[in-house]
């Protein structure tokens, strides 16, 4: 087919202030056939208003079940450059912090073995190398591992954990999100690379309830920083906010969901017993307020997109936990109890959130050996359909478990 590249529709997307992916891909089209045919097939999609990718096939690297998304063009004759166009998911570093030196090494590999296109980053958090051929997969893997990189997750496995900047660049962080992400990723390499679960299991870590990684909405296990004691107040700094003329009443006091803030002159009083740790006052007054000293995290299980039972946010299963002097053992133990119970009683393609709803929270808690707490619910049940387990055997006999 002719060498020139005609993409009138896509060219429309080179206009406007927002950086253009079309311009960028075009800049590669000279040196890379894949990019050229990608643009051509995409132009056709724009004309016909439909995609031209075949349903993903199973491809990967030796000994791994995940990390690669197979992708083939539905029109290989027309667009040979993208007859194969697989994705390689590379496990990003904690918090997406890089040095140019390290990332250049990855890009050199990718320039050599693939389309040179990427997603920085995928929605789960991986560094996504977009578009290569089956025969390149193994060489890419070797080259990456030599430079200290490894693949991320895909399929029914532990998905690549990700976290917010946390302690590395945020004063709100209630635990070390970067270290926990590194620890869990390293501790569960097998679960990450070899799909053995009922379905995907995503872990996201946010250092506080602002939840900058959307853990409560987008991860099967959201680990979100929280504190148990009182908000720390620097009254001098607060007075400075007052002096600055900021509308403390409107911007802070009135917006506290539990109305537990009082301002008396230049002094702020917080009724911490009614504070629900929403973060708003800390967000508005970062110099005056900060999370307490008794910091840790809560764990919310089961968030997911709507397919198939409807979208779910995570539900609080562990209201509070902390890592004491670097010992992740209790967290690993919990994670393994959860996986074991889900593995044993869950069905194929049943996310943990759907699983908990099906077997019921009470059953799930018993299954993983945790006690019920009112912190796990908005309110107790309002229906009378209670499965009583204690009952009396005969006159005089006392309550007994079935």
């Amino acid at each position: 087919m002719s060498d020139e590249l005609k993409t009138p529709l896509l060219d429309e997307l080179e206009k406007g202030p927002w950086p253009s992916f079309v311009t960028d891909i075009k800049s590669m089209a000279g040196k890379n056939e894949m990019c050229k045919d990608l643009l051509r097939q995409l132009e056709k999609s724009y004309e016909d208003r439909r995609g031209y990718w075949k349903h993903g096939g199973l491809v990967g690297v030796m000994g791994y079940g995940g990390g690669v998304i197979g992708r083939y063009s539905a029109l290989p004759e027309e667009f040979p450059g993208v007859s194969h166009f697989h994705t390689v998911r590379v496990n990003q570093p904690s918090g997406w912090f890089y040095t140019t030196e390290a990332l250049r090494e990855v890009m050199d590999i990718w320039e050599k073995h693939g389309s040179g296109l990427t997603n920085m980053h995928g929605s789960t958090g991986d560094m996504v190398l977009l578009g290569t051929r089956t025969e390149e997969l193994e060489p890419i893997f070797r080259a990456l591992t030599e430079k200290g990189w490894d693949l991320g997750g895909s399929g029914s496995d532990l998905r690549t954990p990700s976290c917010c900047a946390g302690p590395a660049r945020c004063e709100m962080s209630c635990y070390d999100t970067l270290d926990m992400t590194y620890n869990l990723t390293q501790s569960y390499q097998d679960e990450l690379h070899r799909p053995m679960f009922n379905y995907k299991y995503k872990i996201k870590m946010s250092g506080c309830p602002n939840d900058c990684t959307a853990a409560i909405a987008r991860s099967d296990m959201g680990i979100i920083g929280i504190w148990r004691d009182d908000i720390k107040v620097d009254q001098a700094a607060f007075a400075a906010y007052v002096d600055s003329g900021m509308d403390i009443q409107g911007a802070v006091v009135d917006l506290c969901p539990t109305s537990c803030i009082e301002v008396d002159g230049k002094e702020i009083k917080i009724d911490d017993s009614n504070c629900v740790k929403c973060m708003h006052c800390l967000n508005r007054l970062p110099k005056a307020l900060s999370p307490g000293d008794d910091r840790g995290f809560a764990i919310a299980l089961g968030a997911k997109a709507p397919i198939v039972e409807g979208a779910l946010f995570g539900s609080v299963i562990i209201p509070f936990m902390k890592i004491e002097d670097g010992d992740y053992e209790p967290l690993h133990d919990l994670l393994e109890r959860i996986w074991e119970f889900w593995d044993e009683h869950g069905t194929a393609r049943e996310r943990i959130g759907e699983f908990i709803e099906r077997v019921s929270l009470a059953t799930f808690l018993e299954g993983i050996g945790e006690d019920p707490s009112p912190k796990m619910v908005k309110a107790p049940r309002d229906n009378p359909y209670i499965f009583y387990e204690e009952y009396f055997e005969e006159e005089g006999a006392s309550a007994s478990e079935e």
């Binding site: 997307l13 253009s20 992916f21 960028d24 891909i25 800049s27 590669m28 990608l38 995409l42 999609s45 016909d48 208003r49 439909r50 995609g51 349903h55 166009f85 570093p93 918090g95 912090f97 890089y98 040095t99 390290a102 890009m107 990718w110 320039e111 040179g116 990427t118 997603n119 920085m120 980053h121 958090g125 977009l130 060489p139 591992t145 990189w149 917010c164 900047a165 590395a168 004063e171 070390d176 590194y182 390499q189 309830p209 602002n210 990684t213 409560i216 909405a217 987008r218 911007a251 917006l255 629900v276 740790k277 967000n283 970062p286 110099k287 997109a305 397919i307 198939v308 039972e309 393609r349």
Partner: protein, 358 residues
């Protein structure tokens, strides 16, 4: 030579430690507060001093060329240290305040924008679309470009009442944040899967396929001898879950695939609890390359919100305060039967009180 070396596996990602700027290492876990210097520029201060962050937009679908330009600037201004955000922006981590403006100038020169902080519209969390996914009802990168071209002034300024998070997904799988965003743009199929009866028996596991349907619309059947499946079209709501497990049930339909607009979701716990995104516009035509109907609709909503919400009120918080009915009135968006929930917990969305505005 490299490829001769012994093959290693399960080494995981590099330790984050080696990617942290010296100032970060010293202030690690000890940060005291942050300041906003201007749109896209933050400073974080700790006992060991202050770190300056300059945030720029990225199309996310980026080539080595783009990344090399970015990395050249990181070498030039931030000692080679930089990061990506959870919304796919790029953050340069600067030790020197005086580097901020030159960096911004170079970024603008290379064709990107600085902003996305505080009460701005940040980058759009999005997906693959026609660039890479078989399931896509629309393109993602193109929609994002078209929409952000319209909204860029809200990226480079902080003039909105609060943060405004936009998400795009190209099918109901919603890879990303559509289900919990202030504004979500969702591509969808609107006709049942067409069954390839020759391919299906070979490519698909019948029980899995039947089980995949949330609405039990799929039944096994046999067509000239071969066992395949049939779909009860009245029960099908075009979710595409069957196609995910069975390639022989494609839903793509250029004539009917479209785009829908959703509103009022949020993730943070600030003030109010996280909220799901709710349906605003059930169908807009899938109109590449610039999706004018979609960009207009989104822009109108953003402007309505900007003009009416109170400080720090997210889109969903604003609508909840004034009531959805008032929102439909103000926006001129038609309220239809499609807005009435009819799924699992539909009843919980009904108005079961007399609380209404008249």
């Amino acid at each position: 030579m490299a490829t001769e070396a012994k093959r290693v596996t399960d080494i995981g990602p590099p330790h984050y430690d080696k990617f942290l700027h010296p100032i970060i290492k010293e202030n690690y876990g000890k940060w005291q507060y942050h300041d906003s210097l201007k749109p896209g520029v933050l400073s974080h201060t700790g006992p060991a001093g202050t770190l300056f962050t300059v945030r720029c937009a990225s199309p996310r679908l980026v080539s080595i060329n783009f990344l090399n330009n970015i990395m050249d600037l990181a070498d030039k201004y931030s000692d080679g240290y930089f990061r990506f955000t959870s919304r796919n922006n790029i953050e340069f981590l600067l030790a020197k305040q005086e580097n901020i403006d030159p960096l911004i100038a170079d970024l603008n020169a290379m064709g990107t924008l600085v902003g996305g902080t505080n009460n701005a519209i940040s980058n759009i969390v999005h997906t693959q679309g026609w660039v890479h996914c078989h399931s896509a009802a629309t393109d993602a990168s193109g929609l994002v470009k078209a929409v952000m071209d319209e909204l860029s002034e809200y990226f480079t300024s902080e003039k909105l009442p609060a943060k405004l998070r936009v998400a795009v997904a190209c099918c109901l799988n919603m890879c990303g944040a559509v289900h919990a965003s202030d504004i979500a743009i969702l591509g969808l199929h609107r006709t049942p899967p067409r069954i390839d009866n020759d391919a299906l028996p070979k490519q698909c596991e019948i029980p899995t396929t039947v089980a995949s349907c949330p609405n039990n619309a799929i039944r096994p059947t046999s067509v000239d001898g071969k066992t395949t499946v049939k779909v009860d079209e009245d029960k099908c709501m075009y979710c595409g879950n069957c196609f995910t497990v069975c390639p022989a049930m494609p839903l793509a339909d250029p004539l009917n695939d479209g785009v829908s607009i959703w509103l009022g979701g949020k993730i943070s716990n600030a003030r109010t609890e996280p909220m799901f995104t709710k349906l605003a516009i059930p169908y807009l035509p899938n109109n590449p390359p610039r999706w004018p109907e979609v960009t207009d609709a989104v822009k109108k909503i953003v402007e309505l919100y900007a003009a009416n919400a109170r400080p720090f009120e997210r889109v969903g918080e604003w609508i909840n305060r004034i009531g959805w009915e008032k929102f439909f009135d103000m926006s001129g968006i038609e309220f239809t039967k499609y807005h009435l929930d009819d799924f699992r917990h539909a009843g919980t969305t009904y108005r079961r009180s007399l609380h209404n505005r008249y």
